[in-house]
Amino acid sequence: MISSIRPAIVLLVLFTVLTGAAYPLLVTGVSQVIFPHQANGSLIREGDRVRGSALIGQPFGEPGRFWSRPSATGPHGYNAGASSGSNAGPTNPAFLQAVKDRVAALHDAEKAAGVKNDAPVPVDLVTASGSGLDPHISPAAAEYQIARVAAVSGVPERDVRELVAKYTYGRFVGLLGEPAVNVLELNLALEKLKPAP
């Protein structure tokens, strides 16, 4: 038992140096050289301004833009300093009410924009993501919003549809994952097409 003390201490120190310092620092060094954009958060820059990260969503609720998925982070949605899901159970009454309210909010925005949309709302648009930072909505959720966004933003529907197609990312090699539309990239591109006020 006593004889275990020396090897335990020595090996803990050696492995701390090897796996706790050398390994992460080596990975950091190599990554910063060969994948600097990804390693630093895939930031979208315009000149000196950081507009966001291509991998992190932002909250959008104005009718002239595509809405993101609801986010459960606090104190405001899409807080990328404190990721969180809602952890609401499927039978939780407060959760079911929240989904109902989100469906109603979409219909209200459509009514205000003078758009008639009888299609059921794609599920991802009214449910919070696991991270609270989901940068994507499904192509169905983008399609659902095209008419409203076009009507309010003044960008022709055909151009909006083209932008959606441009920022839709397919499955990896046609197989892995799900097709998804990057909302931040889409809205940034939409901004540039908007007629001057």
Binding site: S4, I5, R6, P7, A8, V10, L11, L12, T16, L18, T19, G20, Y23, P24, V27, T28, S31, Q38, A39, N40, L43, V50, R51, S53, L55, I56, Q58, P59, R65, P75, H76, A80, G81, A82, S83, S84, G85, N87, A88, G89, P90, T91, V99, V103, P120, P122, V123, D124, T127, G130, L133, D134, H136, I137, S138, Y169, L175, L176, G177, E178
Partner: protein, 595 residues
């Protein structure tokens, strides 16, 4: 489900099984001492530690070494956290957590559980994540591998007192298996967008500024009330988005390979900077099971009968697939309480129950991950299990309760499954009236007592812990959801801790004294109880003669035995946990479909 979903699941299983064989053969070579890439480094380690690679330990010495090393690691993680503000590389100037949270986290990482009562980016400095958590990710995984290698030596050695040298097994597992694989995986993950930087958190402009209302507090910290008795709030405009970054990829790689599962960020691998793309997701979910799958093959190689290893892998794979299918189906069926919402899968959306799931992963990849991470004692998540449908969430819960032996933790999964194999041959022996044998060793009263302990200790920790929390104020106060789901949250927490998984129905608030300590105790019991029992079995088997198989010996590589083994696992799992499951997910399901 779309056809792509089926193909993805099949592809996953194909690649997993395919890679298990070469990796298993390689690991067998490593632990036979035939891989010597870093021989000078290895020798330096042994010399400094005062040991030699040919110095054998008996089972008690081996157990002492493993315990001592893990407890020392536990202490180191605890101290690092308590002093994180005095230590360097604390870019966000994070204060130390409460002592019980720090203790819980230290236990959780030293026991390979990696239960997250802490929220990565809001609690721990980069230094603690690296020197504390990443180190334990490696060495707790290497400890599990070392113990199963010792058990395998118990089968393969004859009339021997020794079962190997813990320090040598620990070093070889880390140097030749975990480190090289982690390095390659970490870089592959960075290529997909997983962050790896020592810079502080980034700031970005919000396109739409956010208004938040915070309660006004007076000087003594009490909320200020207006004339109607309602709290007064003030509006704050938030124009910037804080984006937490850090050295994540290096930790994520080992968290998956070592079946640790503790995330760099609070939401673990649901976070886009921890798991950026479908490809990074595929690599990570593969890494969760690959070493445990490979160890089955290594087992066959080391006992000089490959069929024995294949039988283990077959039994694990069959149970995995059998539970994967209902989990995917339950999640794809969606939430029947939604009205005016389209939950049907199509080319344009995955549909189904998307609460707590990421768009890029959809239903198939989320349910696959939930199944794999709880089959293994990994516990990382790419979706929030708390928001699963009742039956979809029951699958991960029951997989943990089976004892983390369907692939299981690295090392601990296979030694747990071998314990069940002993129980299976024992039951078969009782049926035909012969002394049971496994791999030429007679299985007698001592082995069966130890095997029973290895199975009963985690099960006891789960059920007693759950019961305790359900009758305590601190236990009930933690629930985030009302009704049966709240009970499921508590049951899930103790199932996770008692079996060293680490995933959670994360709505449960566990960062309290009662939960931190009781879950910590469950983690210690669930890790070291079975580990000591297994090492005792290893010692007693190694001392025995090997008997030549006769006509009455039950062959343990046949489909018949695989069936018997699965039957034993499911029977024990069902008898122990179905009553508890009936009170949680099963009741909730019945309420959901017939409100």
């Amino acid at each position: 489900m779309t056809w792509q979903s089926y193909v993805q699941l099949a592809l996953y299983l194909g690649v997993l099984i395919g890679l298990s064989f070469p990796l298993g053969k390689f690991m067998a070579h490593v632990f036979e001492g035939k891989v010597r890439w870093f021989a000078p480094l290895e020798r330096a380690f042994y010399w400094l530690a005062g040991t030699r690679e040919d110095r054998d330990m008996n089972w008690k010495q081996y157990a002492w070494a493993a315990m001592m090393f893990n407890l020392l690691g536990l202490l180191a993680v605890f101290v690092l956290q308590m002093f994180q503000q005095q230590l360097p590389v604390n870019t966000e100037n994070l204060p130390p957590p409460s002592w019980h949270l720090a203790l819980n986290t230290a236990i959780s990482f030293a026991t390979n559980t990696n239960w997250q009562a802490y929220g990565g980016e809001t609690t721990l400095s980069y230094l603690v994540q690296m020197l504390g958590l990443t180190v334990q990710n490696f060495v707790s995984a290497a400890t599990g591998i070392a113990v199963v290698i010792a058990l395998i030596r118990g089968f393969s050695r004859r009339e021997s007192a020794g079962i190997g040298n813990f320090w040598v097994d620990l070093t070889r597992g880390t140097l030749y298996v975990l480190l090289p694989l982690s390095f390659v995986l970490a870089l592959a993950l960075v290529s997909q967008g997983v962050v790896q930087t020592m810079s502080p958190y980034q700031k970005a402009e919000f396109i739409e500024a956010q208004t938040i209302e915070t309660p006004v507090k007076n000087d003594s910290g009490e909320p200020v009330l207006d004339a109607d008795g309602k709290p007064v709030t003030e509006k704050t405009i938030v124009k910037e988005q804080t984006i937490a970054v850090g050295p994540a990829a290096s930790q994520v790689a080992i968290k998956q390979l070592g079946t640790n599962g503790g995330g760099f960020f609070n939401v673990n691998s649901a976070h886009p900077l921890e798991n950026a793309t479908p490809l990074s997701n595929f690599m990570q979910v593969l890494a969760i099971l690959i070493i445990s799958g490979g160890l089955c093959i290594a087992f066959g190689e080391l006992v000089k009968d490959r069929r024995q290893g294949i039988a283990m892998l077959a039994a694990m794979t069959i149970v995995l697939v059998a539970l994967l299918i209902p989990c995917v189906a339950a999640e794809q069926s969606g939430n029947p309480a939604f009205a005016g919402v389209d939950q049907v899968a199509s080319a344009n959306q995955s549909g189904g129950n998307m609460e707590g799931k990421e768009t890029r992963f959809g239903i198939a990849n989320s349910a696959l991950w939930a199944t794999a991470t709880t089959a293994a004692s990994n516990g990382s998540v790419n979706s929030m299990h708390d928001s699963y449908t009742p039956l979809g969430g029951m699958v991960p819960m029951w997989l943990m309760q089976l004892g983390e032996i369907i692939f299981g933790g690295v090392g601990s999964g296979l030694y747990g499954m071998l314990v069940f194999a002993l129980v299976a041959v024992f039951i078969a022996g009782l049926m035909v009236g012969r002394t049971p044998e496994y791999l030429g060793k007679k299985i007698q009263a001592h082995e069966m007592k130890m095997a029973s302990l290895a199975i009963l200790i985690p099960a006891g920790a789960v059920l007693v812990g759950t019961a305790l929390a359900c009758v305590s104020d601190w236990g009930l106060a933690g629930r985030a959801n009302p009704g049966a789901h709240g009970f499921s949250e508590i049951l899930y927490a103790y199932s996770s801790a008692g079996n060293n998984n680490g995933s959670a129905f994360a709505g449960l608030t566990v960062n309290t004294l009662g939960y931190d300590l009781s879950l910590g105790a469950a983690m210690l019991l669930g890790r070291f109880g079975p580990m000591l029992a297994v090492l005792a079995i290893a010692g007693s088997l190694a001392a025995k003669k090997t008997v030549t198989p006769g006509p009455g010996t039950l062959p343990t590589h046949t489909p018949l035995f695989v069936g018997l083994l699965i039957g034993t696992v499911l029977l024990v799992g069902a008898l122990t946990f179905v009553p508890a499951l009936a009170l949680g997910p099963i009741v909730e399901h019945l309420l959901m479909v017939k409100p």
